[in-house]
Symmetry: C2
Subunit: 184 residues, 2 copies
């Protein structure tokens, strides 16, 4: 998990903030000659930003005692609700994790009564997973904050920046999803 809870009453001595410079110097010395340094720099910024963004989301969800993976799963159930039979295998597939990991997530969610499992009557190996009324209530409680957090992430951008940024996000997402072989 990526949890960062901050601050003991610590540390007299502390390390100065480095900023980006030393990373660039290091890159100068260690990047292969066929790597575009300016792109690499932007990539580095993106990695840092990604880390921070997920932290913000975690902090946000923590207030509801749920983590991103689990919330993701509830959202998935919400969105497929009524349309298709949702099994642990299908969930594993979609989330890109193993069935055993899904079992663990479901155990946790079921203990809190946010999902239910029911054996399929047509194929008794399979389990039908559903979000419960309580689960739905949780999702509905979380979503307004979640959307507002999402929105706050980009709210500082100027309209013209937003415009380009949207195109960029869509492009990068599609490139990277192909690369990883995933997709929401």
């Amino acid at each position: 998990m990526r949890k960062k809870n901050q601050h003991d009453h610590t540390a007299d001595q502390s390390l100065p903030k480095l900023g980006v410079r030393p990373y660039l110097d290091l890159m100068e010395k260690t990047a292969s000659s066929d790597t575009n340094k300016h792109s690499a720099y932007m990539g580095l910024l993106m990695v840092w930003l990604s880390d921070n963004i997920l932290d913000v989301v975690d902090v946000d969800l923590a207030a509801y005692n749920i983590t991103e993976s689990k919330f993701d799963l509830l959202l998935l159930l919400t969105l497929h609700e009524g349309k298709e039979l949702i099994t642990p295998s299908a969930i594993a597939d979609r989330l890109g994790i193993r069935r055993a990991s899904v079992t663990a997530l479901l155990d946790w969610l079921e203990k809190r009564n946010w999902i239910s499992r029911e054996q399929s009557s047509t194929d008794r190996r399979m389990v039908h997973v559903r979000i419960t009324t309580e689960g739905r209530a949780l999702v509905e409680a979380v979503l307004p904050t979640f959307w507002s957090t999402c929105s706050s992430l980009v709210s500082e951008l100027e309209p013209d920046e937003q415009q380009v940024f949207e195109k960029v996000l869509i492009k990068l997402n599609s490139v990277i999803e192909n690369r990883l072989g995933v997709g929401k």
Copy 2:
């Protein structure tokens, strides 16, 4: 940890890819009225992208049997090398985790001979942490790939997109670092 190793020989039945639409519909119904929906949509894309970006980095580093957190720590040691006395407390502070967590990371790295600990002679409560020759060799082996991966993240963008994107990244990073109270 965010590890996603993909694919059992699984799942006959599978869930259709949803794409962005159902999320937007849900947002319509569940976002607070003072949330800018278009920004929220972009924020959502950013969260997805962040997830994927960290996965790419993980996959990359996995080849060297090291994870992002641990590599981060080695990088930190590399960049402060010789300049300041690096203690577990200072590391905890910088990484935004507890001292106890740092102890665990250091134990792991020390076992592999990538860092060393030495008691400070001036204040015997403190420990001086240093990257070893082997540690440095590892970092040097990883970095070329790492930079090239960073670069590959944005390489599909057009020059004009890159230009705006860079400004955006810098802005977002600074906004979010203020918000979280962190910084590299």
